[in-house]
């Protein structure tokens, strides 16, 4: 692992040591990738940090220098605005719901498709459709299918389930349901976008869990079966522990992705009816108010919240996951 080049420098003229040559080659090979990431990711992020502390509007950004005119106005404005905290809460609910939903559905799907049957290959392939299809197209299909005027869901809901009135799934902030005489208000639009997100990303979880399931040695389960363990016991004590690392990894990945999600919600509801996640707010600040500073400040806060949450996760669960693996 030593990267010292002393051997080459002391005795001049001799070829460099292998490790030093490898070091140089490695750095050379990584350079193109690194440059690209630097230009399109790292520099923009640093610039966002600067913008967040400046009073930058899109019109006067030409005159603004990179530095100077520091201000905390943006953060004051963001924290002070009434919608911010509730939208952060919505983001969290949405993320937790959609992450759990997609992983649960993925797990159930992986278990159901574990043993071969006729048509498994084709079903497995078509189950990935929601994940690979363009978000604009699938969100549009959901919009039409859920429409109160001409949507197939409301039509069938009326016929089969006896709904009295068509339900506006994507524009109802809270919907009253009565269950056993008690009345609840459920955030219907939010639940609908969570359902959409779970539907769209369960194939991703399914893929990873199926790959893991098929790597579990048969002998483990056979031994348990001989010992008289039932199906659910075998799942609980053998399969689940084997799956835990992959489930933990998927939870982190899906959480990060969903937390930052913009397009799915923007396309389905435009951020209305109680689905105003922070990512959509950033977009609104940027394009309808041209307030670059406030948009940057919000995006920055979103990233910071995510980092804190991940930090907490790894503090409490990181060790556990490693132990499970060991």
């Amino acid at each position: 692992m030593s990267t010292k080049t002393s051997g080459a420098t002391v005795r001049r003229g001799r070829p460099r040591t292998t490790s030093s040559r490898e070091n140089r080659a490695g750095l050379a090979f990584v350079t193109p990738t690194f440059l690209v990431v630097l230009v399109v990711v790292i520099l923009p992020i640093l610039w966002t940090v600067l913008l967040a502390f400046q009073n930058a509007k899109l019109v006067d950004i030409q005159e603004n220098g990179l530095f100077g005119n520091w201000t905390l106005d943006n953060f004051q404005q963001v924290f002070g605005s009434p919608g911010f905290w509730s939208s952060l809460g919505t983001t969290l609910l949405y993320t937790v719901g959609a992450t759990a939903g997609s992983i649960l559905l993925g797990l159930v799907a992986a278990l159901a498709l574990r043993k071969p049957f006729r048509g498994r290959g084709i079903l497995r392939a078509s189950m990935l459709l929601p994940y690979v299809a363009p978000v604009v197209a699938v969100s549009f299909v959901w919009e039409v299918a859920l429409s109160p005027q001409y949507g197939i869901v409301n039509e069938w809901g009326g016929k089969l389930l006896g709904w009295d009135d068509p339900i506006a799934f994507l524009s109802t902030r809270s919907y009253e349901v009565s269950l056993l005489g008690a009345h609840f208000d459920i955030p219907l639009a939010l639940l609908t976008v969570i359902a959409f997100e779970s539907w769209r990303y369960f194939p991703f979880a399914f893929l990873f869990m199926l790959a893991r399931l098929q790597a579990v040695p048969d002998s483990l389960e056979e031994a348990a079966e001989v010992d008289g363990a039932t199906l659910s016991q075998r799942f609980r004590h053998i399969l689940l522990p084997q799956m835990m690392p992959v489930i933990a990894l998927l939870s982190v990945l899906r959480f990060i992705m969903t937390f930052n999600k913009f397009d799915d919600i923007y396309l389905l509801t435009g951020g209305g009816s109680g689905t105003d996640v922070v990512a959509v707010r950033v977009y609104d600040f940027l394009t309808s108010r041209f307030d670059v500073g406030a948009a940057s400040a919000q995006a920055l806060i979103l990233a910071l919240v995510l980092m804190v949450l991940l930090g907490l996760y790894f503090m409490f669960f990181g060790k556990k996951v490693q132990e499970e693996q060991a």
């Binding site: 490695g26 990431v37 399109v40 459709l129 549009f140 299909v141 098929q214 394009t287 693996q325």
Partner: protein, 288 residues
């Protein structure tokens, strides 16, 4: 009946219920999309619940209208398909060019910082796309690239480089070292080894990664919206469909035809390469 027997029977049935349920939720939405795209709008409004189209209603006018150029009174999707294809292909080439050497270095060479590179590239995901969107939006406006398809492709690299490195790295480590050593003994430089030995062997992963990148670029919406919304000539299919759905009244069935056109290229590519792609994505998953 013992508990074990009961469970065998119960889960035996539950399994088929789940399989049917999964088939319904994944196939029906796409069938519905296809179905509405070949119906006149009137028949949708008259009978929204119908899951069939009668032969006298069947029409392809929706496709004609969505593909025709705007001068001929259509929606100009043919031009948008060209834009999408251009952006997606450019993104694939640029991403592979940037990610192949990186993935090779990470999988093969020990160098200063090698253990942190993957972490750095994955950290890209921590930042919301909207966070990148703000400065890139401003930067591109300043550079005059904001209405440009090339600019869009450059931005997409950022979204695709981390996954590409991950997928290719997992494949590179399976190529035995001895092959490289043999090439080195024959006097090949490292660059020659990579080009003449590693790349041909890694063709499957290059294909899989390229296809995945193509899908991401073809499906992308946020940056297209930010950079191109003002310039209808440059719209990609995704952006065009969203703008039409939001803007002037175009009938839903015509828009469904647009959705089908947007979806078909990706689905064809996907089904042609499903095994390759899923293996590329999940390799390493079974190691937990």
């Amino acid at each position: 009946m013992s508990r074990a027997q009961f469970e065998e029977r119960f889960f035996g049935i539950a399994r088929w219920v789940v399989i049917v349920f999964l088939a319904v939720i994944t196939i029906v939405p796409f069938y519905y999309m296809l179905l509405l795209s070949v119906k006149p709008i009137d028949s949708l409004l008259v009978d929204p619940g119908s899951l069939w189209v009668s032969s006298k209603d069947f029409t392809l006018d929706t496709y004609r209208s969505v593909l025709k150029s705007t001068e001929d009174g259509g929606q100009g999707f043919l031009g948008m398909l060209g834009n999408s294809a251009l952006v997606a292909v450019a993104t694939v080439l640029l991403t592979l060019a940037a990610a192949v050497p990186g993935a090779y270095a990470v999988s093969r060479l020990k160098f200063f910082g090698s253990r942190h590179v993957s972490a750095l590239f994955l950290a890209v995901y921590l930042f919301p796309a909207t966070l990148l969107a703000v400065p890139l939006f401003v930067m591109f406006a300043k550079m005059g690239l904001s209405g440009s398809l090339v600019g869009l492709a450059i931005v997409y690299i950022a979204q695709t480089v981390p996954v590409s490195i991950y997928m290719m790295k997992n494949y590179f480590v399976t190529i035995p070292f001895s092959i490289e050593e043999a090439a080195a003994i024959d006097g090949a430089s490292r660059l020659q080894t990579v080009r003449k030995v590693i790349l041909p062997l890694a063709l499957p992963t290059l294909m899989a990664t390229g296809l995945y990148v193509f899908m991401i670029a073809w499906n992308e919406f946020l940056f297209a919206l930010l950079f191109l919304a003002a310039d209808p000539d440059k719209w990609t299919v995704s952006l065009g469909l969203q703008q039409l759905a939001n803007g002037i009244e175009v009938s839903k069935t015509v828009l469904m035809a647009g959705s089908v056109i947007l979806t078909i290229p990706v689905v064809i590519l996907f089904f042609a390469s499903e095994r390759l792609l899923t293996e590329g994505l999940t390799s390493g998953a079974d190691k937990g």
